[in-house]
């Protein structure tokens, strides 16, 4: 392919990705009139009016806090449970290990979207709707299959001699988990952590299913509500989008390579 054609295609795609993102960012400093007249132009004056309005007229600080709590607890709990389970699976005898592994992997074959109605009814009967705890539980169990898959694959690659000689030196399983398995699995754990972080932070489905009280809304659910509350008020909507996306964007810019690797390992293995 001629170089010029290649350069043209790559530039066009770059514009296709960057243009909407650029419009969102500059629009948060504009009025709607400015946006509608010239979507691509810079604001006449850089005003933070949309931001102050958003924080006054919506519950975004509360939504933000809910999102942080749900994401932090879900990801931490999922990582602890999945790494314990994966370690256990690889230390068990072949058949029972495989059976337990298969038990979790069934979850990869059944997309959770299939079971949304029973999930709602079951959680409601347990009093876990309108509760961040309920949201955390569903996040943890729906991310367990992929986490167990990634981590078990990783633990299997560790030479078993290491664990056996540790056992001969008198180290119990708990000790082997903490002083061998965990430290060695740092790369796999951080890749899984990034994957889960993005999934849980961005999730709209389960909050939509389980949360109706305004004070319990996470950011994605709040954004969905803005569609009605700020109807066609795009500069306000974009301000919300920017605030809700900021943490992931900042992490992405800071940890580009790890993000791409983490999200790809999730895709490749899921």
């Amino acid at each position: 392919m001629p170089r010029v054609v290649k350069a043209l295609i790559l530039t066009f795609v770059a514009l296709l990705i960057a243009a909407p993102v650029y419009v969102v960012i500059v629009s948060t400093f504009k009025t709607n009139a400015e946006l509608f007249e010239n979507p691509s132009g810079l604001p006449a004056s850089w005003s933070f009016a949309n931001y102050s309005r958003l924080f006054v007229e919506s519950n975004i600080s509360q939504n933000f806090a809910n999102s942080v709590i749900v994401t932090a607890v879900s990801v931490t709990a999922a990582l602890i449970l999945a790494s314990l389970a994966s370690f256990g699976i690889t230390r068990l005898m072949r058949v029972s290990g495989l059976l337990l592994f298969g038990f979790f992997i069934v979850g990869l074959a059944i997309p959770a979207q299939v079971n949304i109605i029973p999930i709602f009814l079951f959680f409601k009967s347990l009093g876990l709707t309108n509760s961040l705890v309920g949201l955390i539980i569903i996040n943890v169990v729906t991310t367990l299959p992929i986490s167990v898959f990634i981590l078990t694959t990783f633990f299997r690659q560790l030479p078993s001699d290491m664990f056996e000689s540790a056992a001969m030196d008198g180290a119990g399983y708990l000790r082997q988990y903490f002083s061998i398995a965990l430290p060695l699995s740092a790369p796999a754990m951080s890749a899984t952590a990034i994957f889960l972080l993005v999934i849980v932070w961005n999730d709209l489905l389960y909050p939509l299913l389980l949360i109706t009280e305004e004070s319990k809304r996470t950011l994605p659910l709040a954004l969905l509500a803005y569609q009605g509350e700020f109807f066609a008020d795009y500069t306000m909507i974009f301000t919300g989008v920017l605030v809700a996306s900021a943490p992931m964007v900042i992490l992405y810019i800071a940890l580009q390579r790890f993000f791409i690797a983490g999200l790809t390992s999730g895709a490749v293995k899921g």
Partner: protein
């Protein structure tokens, strides 16, 4: 040496089971129980609230297959959406992967940019593209006006004939970068010597692609297509945030219909029967795809 070591190691211990139990119990209760309930409820008529659950056998399935035009058109929407997204996302990610396979500075920078939408939430992407597609204020029709196409101002999401494809385009924008990275990883594993040997034999670029790149990329292509299929079947969040299935049900896909039937119309039996059919549909599409991709080599 290794044999003696293995004998000394406690191979019959079942203590590691304790490590698996917490996750397994949680998973059993909160994941497997709802999955089982899907099957059970699909054989009933129930609104999800009243105490009386009526067992109706396979009646819900019979209704779906023989007497439910909404379900039929939703299955067709889901399949068309999936097909368009899989074809274009796979094609574009392959082309971009081939162009950016080398780890040069520009290559890495462009890959980072193309990957960017992957980290956004579906609702954010949905809201951004709601603006892009706005018939009066949106960026797309604005560009058409600027280049002189003042009469070509489609209602991208309001027109029943094109709304589904507008959503598909957004989905492709959203996830092509992620699949491109998967292709880059696959491409970088193909040994360079194969290309060098082919050059010696006088093969041109197309010949090399057909006889080296494509066959060796086959596992990657199967993976990309399977992942994209699942992702587009599950595009609930994008559809719900942009059109909620409208206009006139033209963008209703299976997960949005399941949500509507179960949560809004309170027909739990029918919704869960839809879920089971959805599940079977996903499996059969996977199976067909695998066969089709393998036939190309």
């Amino acid at each position: 040496m290794s044999i003696t070591k293995k004998r000394l190691a406690p191979i019959h211990s079942s203590r590691p089971l304790l490590f698996v139990l917490p996750a397994a119990i949680l998973f059993l209760i909160f994941y497997m129980v709802p999955a089982f309930l899907t099957l059970r409820y699909s054989l009933t008529r129930w609104d999800g609230y009243s105490p009386d659950v009526e067992f109706v056998g396979l009646q819900n399935y019979q209704t779906l297959i023989t007497a439910d035009p909404v379900f039929t058109s939703t299955v067709s929407n889901s399949l068309r959406f999936m097909l368009v997204v899989v074809v274009f996302q796979t094609l574009f990610s392959l082309i971009l992967g081939l162009m950016l396979v080398r780890n040069t500075k520009t290559g890495v920078a462009l890959r980072t940019l193309y990957f960017f939408p992957t980290i956004l939430s579906s609702i954010s992407v949905g809201l951004i593209w709601l603006f892009m597609y706005d018939p009066f204020f949106g960026l797309i029709n604005y560009i058409f006006r600027e280049v002189g196409l003042t009469t070509f101002q489609p209602s991208w999401l309001g027109n029943e004939k094109i709304a589904l494809y507008s959503l598909a385009a957004t989905q492709v924008w959203f996830h092509t970068g992620q699949m491109m990275v998967v292709y880059v990883a696959g491409l970088q594993q193909i040994p360079q010597e194969l290309y060098e040997a082919a050059s010696v034999d006088g093969a041109n670029a197309w010949r090399k692609f057909v006889s080296i790149t494509w066959p060796l990329l086959l596992p990657t292509t199967i993976l990309v297509m399977a992942y994209t299929t699942l992702q587009s079947f599950r595009a609930f969040e994008l559809v719900w945030s942009m059109t909620q299935g409208g206009p006139g049900g033209s963008t209703e896909i299976l997960p949005t219909l399941i949500y509507r039937t179960g949560m809004l119309n309170l027909n739990v039996g029918l919704a869960t029967a839809q879920s089971v059919v959805f599940m079977l549909l996903i499996f059969s599409v996977f199976w067909i795809q695998r066969r089709a991709v393998k036939l190309t080599t």
